[in-house]
């Protein structure tokens, strides 16, 4: 054996050295895989046509996040032919640059939603969210009737847009000033339907998404 035990012995008897070495060894993976992504144009530059969420859609997205929709629905069309055939053009990282947090999901109890926008009417989406089994009897999705009763808080939404702007999302002053009016008398259901109907359509319309 080239390595003599005494070298290891030093390590096995010194708590400080052990702790420092652990910290060093566990750092490489994250440094190598995460840091380059910050400067990777592909992951941080928006795809053509993709803009920050409009006030009502942002409110809807936050409802989606709050309700935990990501636990049963993915928002990621993988680069596999049977996925693009079922759901549409594959997802591109540039489509998600305004998503905080990302909602790609890890389990599909229901179908993928990355390009659900425009596939069903507003009325269908509305009724389906309130009572899914009235439209799809075999579905096991829960109903979300409370969304129709809750109003969007405009002041809170303005604060949220300001926070997003300070994180780097390019909202203009006019957009933030108009937020309160844009969601006046809108319910959480209105907002969520607006979010769903906008999902994945911008990049496709602008020709930014890759064809299947």
């Amino acid at each position: 054996m080239g390595l003599q035990y005494k070298h290891w012995e030093k390590l096995e008897k010194n708590a400080l050295l052990l702790g420092v070495l652990i910290a060093v060894m566990v750092s490489f993976g994250g440094l190598a895989e995460i840091i380059p992504l910050f400067n990777d144009a592909q992951t941080v530059r928006p795809a053509p046509g993709v803009t920050p969420y409009e006030p009502l859609r942002l409110a809807g997205r936050d409802v989606y996040v709050r309700e935990g929709c990501y636990l049963c629905h993915s928002q990621m069309i993988r680069t596999l032919s049977f996925e693009t055939q079922r759901y549409g053009p594959r997802s591109d990282s540039g489509e998600f640059v305004y998503d905080r947090p990302f909602q790609w999901g890890s389990k599909r109890t229901g179908p993928d939603l990355a390009r659900i926008g425009g596939k069903y009417s507003d009325d269908w989406q509305r009724l389906h969210l309130l009572a899914p089994r009235q439209l799809v009897p075999a579905s096991n999705m829960p109903g979300y009737p409370w969304l129709a009763k809750a109003k969007i808080d405009g002041a809170d939404l303005t604060a949220r847009m300001r926070a997003l702007r300070s994180l780097g999302d390019p909202y203009t002053d006019a957009q933030i000033a108009g937020a309160e009016e844009a969601v006046l008398n809108k319910t959480e259901l209105d907002a969520l339907v607006a979010y769903l109907q906008g999902m994945g359509v911008k990049a496709v319309a602008a020709g930014g998404a890759v064809p299947p």
């Binding site: 054996m1 005494k6 008897k13 708590a15 052990l18 702790g19 652990i22 910290a23 060894m25 566990v26 490489f28 993976g29 994250g30 190598a32 895989e33 995460i34 992504l37 592909q42 992951t43 941080v44 996040v65 935990g68 636990l71 049963c72 993915s74 990621m76 993988r78 596999l80 049977f82 055939q85 594959r90 997802s91 990282s93 489509e95 998600f96 305004y98 998503d99 905080r100 947090p101 990302f102 909602q103 790609w104 999901g105 890890s106 389990k107 599909r108 179908p111 899914p132 089994r133 579905s139 096991n140 999705m141 829960p142 109903g143 979300y144 409370w146 949220r160 926070a163 997003l164 994180l167």
Partner: protein
């Protein structure tokens, strides 16, 4: 450095078992609570009417209560309790900073209660296994640093110079989870109940699964391996099969695991090179994982009869078998072509639960059964038949659960990709949901069996603690320093004698 102070007078120091008993109780309570929520969630998958149209009882709101309650409530309490027990007993020293240790107990319970009380009301970051909002994350960070201070403080005072391998894993658990937790939860608060993560899109996905995968690596694997390396030799009444092998596996495990997180994002919009790196490292990970499992199992060589007589040993052996099985499965699922079938299906759920119910819960239960009588000043657990009953309930439930979910996962994976002769997809999405409904019932029954086993355990622990509730427990004295022999090396090549 003269780390081992030779004191000539016999010590009157005793082990601090009070905080360990508290963690023991908390682990049993959160185990039952977390798994009950899991059973409700499983029932809602089969019968959606059980959501009752009540927001805070809805599947998507309570799912995180199940995962958080079981991982951090049950697993976390068991980890901290056994860690405090092991660091004292392997170092022949009383816990440092006893009050701070008590703070880590109450602080950790506050974290779990706060998280469980806010998540059903939609106060969530919506990042898997990191759901609690920013103010809870801050409390987690404070408690975790205190945990580190108590652990490393105790290690610094130890009387046995050599640091036993269990403590290596606990040290790595504390350091790595602190790093993961802080980096993944960096967020800008908007209000008390809402924050936005500083990362977005693909970067957020990578950071989250770097966290998510390594929470599994260091919390659910590393920490529980620390538990295994102490309680398996203890229960087998044999020295560890190979101490050197355990050290080699330690360094391999902690350095390789951190690279593997991106295998959760194969075929997604994450840059391809990151996906491939994650897949390769996941395959390398087979070596330390199977090595650790083999080391534990081979420790039973010469005392396999314990499996016949001692239910705690039974739990430990099966835990190691499932550790080997689920890490093998995990590496296979990280292969891109396999992943194209398994990802997004119930196979993922099967894999997680073979690791969680098979490995994590079984090594914990075995260790709790081994530790509880000692911490409660009793010769043995109150009822051995109840331990056996728990073992069979747990094993039957586990098998029913994972077989159901494997069948469901393969069904979904095959139906989603089936293509007819004309090139069109054979099945619509809804057909796959209808096809797996029977398996959802199998899963529910499996979950009920595992939960009833946990109730049996909680009862058994409560009865074992009956004596401790009425009498003052005689503290266990730390051994007299002179009586501690230097470890006799029985490995090849033999270690060199320490320089004087």
């Amino acid at each position: 450095m003269a780390r081992s102070r030779r004191i000539s007078m016999p010590t009157k120091e005793s082990y601090d078992d009070h905080v360990i008993r508290l963690f023991l109780l908390a682990a049993a309570v959160w185990g039952v609570v977390g798994m009950s929520i899991g059973v409700l969630a499983a029932a809602q998958m089969a019968w959606p009417a059980l959501n009752f149209d009540i927001s805070w009882l809805t599947f998507s709101r309570i799912r995180a209560n199940h995962t958080f309650g079981v991982i951090f409530g049950f697993g976390g309490s068991a980890l901290m309790g056994t860690c405090y027990y092991i660091v004292q007993h392997t170092g022949h020293v009383r816990l440092a900073f006893g009050r701070l240790a008590l703070f880590t107990f109450w602080g950790w319970q506050a974290v779990i209660v706060l998280a469980m009380a806010t998540m059903p009301f939609g106060i969530t970051q919506a990042k898997e296994y990191a759901e609690p909002e920013w103010f809870i994350d801050l409390l987690i960070a404070v408690v975790w640093v205190a945990f580190g201070v108590v652990f490393f403080g105790t290690l610094a005072r130890r009387r046995i110079r050599h640091i036993y391998v269990s403590n290596w894993y606990f040290g790595a658990l504390i350091i790595a989870v602190a790093l993961l937790h802080i980096v993944n939860n960096l967020a800008l608060p908007v209000s008390l109940t809402k924050s936005y993560t500083i990362y977005s899109g693909a970067v957020d996905a990578m950071v989250q699964w770097w966290y998510g995968h390594n929470a599994v690596a260091f919390f659910l694997t590393g920490g529980f391996l620390g538990m295994m390396y102490y309680f398996v030799p203890r229960q087998a009444q044999q020295p560890l099969w190979s101490y050197r092998f355990s050290i080699v596996n330690f360094w391999a495990l902690i350095s390789v695991y951190m690279w593997a997180g991106s295998h959760h994002l194969l075929y997604t919009a994450l840059p391809d090179w990151v996906q491939s790196v994650g897949m390769v490292f996941s395959l390398v990970l087979l070596m330390p994982s199977l090595g650790s499992a083999a080391n534990g199992l081979l420790t039973f060589n010469g005392s396999w009869d314990k499996v016949r007589t001692d239910p705690a040993a039974k739990f430990m052996v099966l835990a190691l078998v499932f550790y080997a099985a689920s890490t093998f499965e995990g590496s296979m699922m990280a292969i891109k072509s396999v992943n194209s079938l398994t990802h997004y299906t119930d196979w993922t759920v099967a894999h997680v639960h073979s690791g969680a119910i098979g490995w994590v819960a079984m090594i914990t239960i075995g260790s709790l059964y081994a530790m509880a009588p000692r911490a409660l000043d009793r010769p043995a657990m109150h009822s051995v038949p109840a331990m056996n009953l728990h073992f069979w309930l747990h094993t039957a439930g586990l098998l029913l659960y994972i077989v159901s979910m494997w069948a469901a996962g393969v069904t979904e994976g095959l139906m989603w990709r089936a293509t007819s002769a004309d090139g069109s997809l054979t099945h619509d999405f809804l057909s796959s949901l209808i096809a797996v409904q029977p398996y959802y019932l199998g899963r529910l029954l499996g979950g009920v069996l595992v939960l009833s086993g946990m109730v049996v355990m909680a009862w058994n622990l409560w009865r074992t603690a009956a004596h401790a509730r009425t009498e003052v427990i005689k503290p266990i004295l730390v051994p007299v320093p002179e009586a501690i022999p230097e470890p006799v090396p029985d490995q090849y090549p033999p270690p060199l004698p320490a320089k004087s």
